[in-house]
């Protein structure tokens, strides 16, 4: 929905919580009870969900929203994300999250994120890579196929390193089997990217979950649909833990926690 379709009072309210500063789209938010884990820290899922929504809202406001792309037979899908955590926001903490598009290179759109405290302390930085697909054939399209909209770029790199390409690791022990449920799906009828973060945390051994997570990388390989079963495999690494999700012998996602 465009801002023109919204009530004036709504626009005024949102202006106080969301604003542009050149290429940077900012949102002030409070992590709510349901966003936090039992230690009162924002969950990885809540952070991934927030950043993914922020990216979507930025494109929405720049005239390249979900419905617009759908009309053109296109969708932007997330391929990789990487996070660097200084600390997780805590329950009821007011933070400012921001995103900006850096550039496109090869098939990828590069977008970074930052979450800061109200006083400006950097809490989380993140890098992401997105690609454009034909919504019917799922063929990957060149970034030049995307209508320009009102895109504004800033090549500045956040404090988080670039996304890494995670490779399939053979012979990881099976940790469990996770059925895909209706509530895991989003408007694209596939498991939402943030849900993979939730699944990864659920399958982390308790001793790793208790450690301070310094970084997290995730790659999304193939879409997972309702009624599929993810076989979750994982193992400790030198400085953390690696997890993979397979379905029908195909790798769907891979991720690494750095502790």
């Amino acid at each position: 929905m465009s801002a023109h379709g919204k009530l004036y009072s709504e626009v005024i309210r949102k202006m106080s919580e969301e604003w542009y500063d050149g290429a940077y789209f900012n949102r002030k938010i409070i992590f709510r009870f349901g966003d936090c884990d039992k230690s009162k820290n924002a969950s990885l899922y809540a952070v991934m969900k927030l950043l993914s929504e922020l990216a979507g809202e930025d494109y929405e406001r720049r005239g390249l929203g979900y419905e617009y792309l759908l009309k053109h037979g296109q969708a932007l899908l997330l391929s990789r994300m990487r996070f660097k955590f200084v600390r997780m926001p805590v329950h009821t903490e007011k933070v400012v999250a921001c995103t900006w598009e850096r550039f496109d290179k090869g098939p990828y759109f590069y977008r970074d994120f930052e979450i800061k405290s109200e006083s400006g302390e950097l809490l989380i930085s993140a890098s992401s890579q997105w690609f454009l697909v034909d919504i019917i054939s799922r063929e990957i399209l060149r970034p030049s196929s995307l209508a320009e909209g009102r895109r504004q770029l800033d090549p500045r790199k956040s404090d988080c390193p670039d996304c890494e390409k995670l490779k399939k690791t053979g012979d990881l022990p099976v940790l469990g089997r996770r059925p895909v449920c209706y509530s895991d799906l989003d408007g694209n009828c596939h498991v939402n990217n943030a849900v993979y973060g939730k699944i990864a945390v659920d399958y982390l051994p308790e001793e790793i979950r208790k450690k301070k997570i310094m970084g997290f990388s995730i790659n999304f390989f193939i879409e997972t649909k309702q009624n599929e079963m993810l076989e979750i495999c994982g193992s400790e690494t030198v400085n953390g833990y690696t997890l993979q999700g397979m379905s029908n012998s195909k790798l769907r996602f891979g991720c690494e926690f750095v502790c």
Partner: protein, 248 residues
């Protein structure tokens, strides 16, 4: 402008429904609305000085026992909603609270009622509401449009639908499955033909806390106007809920 504020006895919170709070039809998940209702009750309690720490340190926590919802329509992605909640009264050992959900224009979209009990978390005993001496001087007897909360009793035996492991991310600050997670589980176990149906009424009972590593046995069955789901652990009922679907 703040996104949450008091309007006399009423506590309000405004938010916009995001893409990830919605199902494949881009309509808000039931568990999202339920989660916000319970959260704003907690927010108001905090604003009245009853923070989670204060209550825990005082040897008491609020737990939800029953909830009911009525939807005039299901909110959609990107829609702005204003939740209003108010403490209605105490009845026996329960605190009764209601809520309505409106558009910025004032259109009533949904309403909800809930009963909370004050619990001693160490003894697992219900504490009389009179033990909470401060913070609830303000109340309104206004009843929301939602049905009264009630005990859900299936009229026919329910069949086994499957098993659901409790995951770490189902837990909240009280170290048990969060109330909204039960309705998410229930929706996941609805037969596919009901999953994207418009919910008109929804009632849920929370019978017993569920902890990490427990497995819920999910049973369900068709009713005259909808579907009932129950979750058991070791044959002990942990939750029950009833969906009433809007006629197409």
């Amino acid at each position: 402008m703040a996104d949450r504020w008091f309007d006399g006895t009423f506590y309000k919170r405004e938010l916009t429904v995001n893409y990830l709070d919605c199902n494949t039809e881009k309509k808000v998940f039931l568990h999202y609305i339920q989660g916000i209702f319970s959260e704003i009750a907690g927010d108001e309690s905090q604003a009245n000085g009853h923070t989670h720490e204060f209550l825990v340190n005082s040897g008491r926590v609020f737990l939800i026992t029953r909830m009911s919802f009525r939807f005039l329509r299901t909110p959609k992605c990107n829609e702005t909603l204003i939740f209003t909640t108010w403490f209605r009264k105490t009845e026996g050992r329960f605190f009764l609270r209601d809520c309505d959900v409106r558009s910025p224009k004032g259109e009533l979209i949904a309403s909800a009622s809930g009963t909370w009990a004050l619990i001693d978390p160490a003894e697992h005993k219900v504490i009389e509401p009179s033990a909470l001496r401060t913070g609830y001087s303000e109340f309104s007897e206004l009843k929301a449009d939602s049905p009264d909360c009630k005990k859900i009793v299936p009229e026919v035996p329910l069949t086994l639908l499957g098993y659901r492991s409790v995951y770490y991310t189902d837990l909240d600050l009280n170290y048990h499955v969060n109330n909204a997670a039960y309705s998410r589980v229930a929706t996941d176990f609805l037969p596919p033909e009901y999953q994207s149906c418009e919910v008109e009424d929804f009632l849920i009972n929370f019978n017993k806390e569920t902890r990490l590593d427990e497995t819920l046995e999910i049973r369900g069955g068709v009713t005259e106007h909808g579907y009932i789901i129950q979750g058991f652990c070791d044959n002990v009922l942990h939750f029950a809920c009833e969906f009433v679907f809007r006629k197409q």
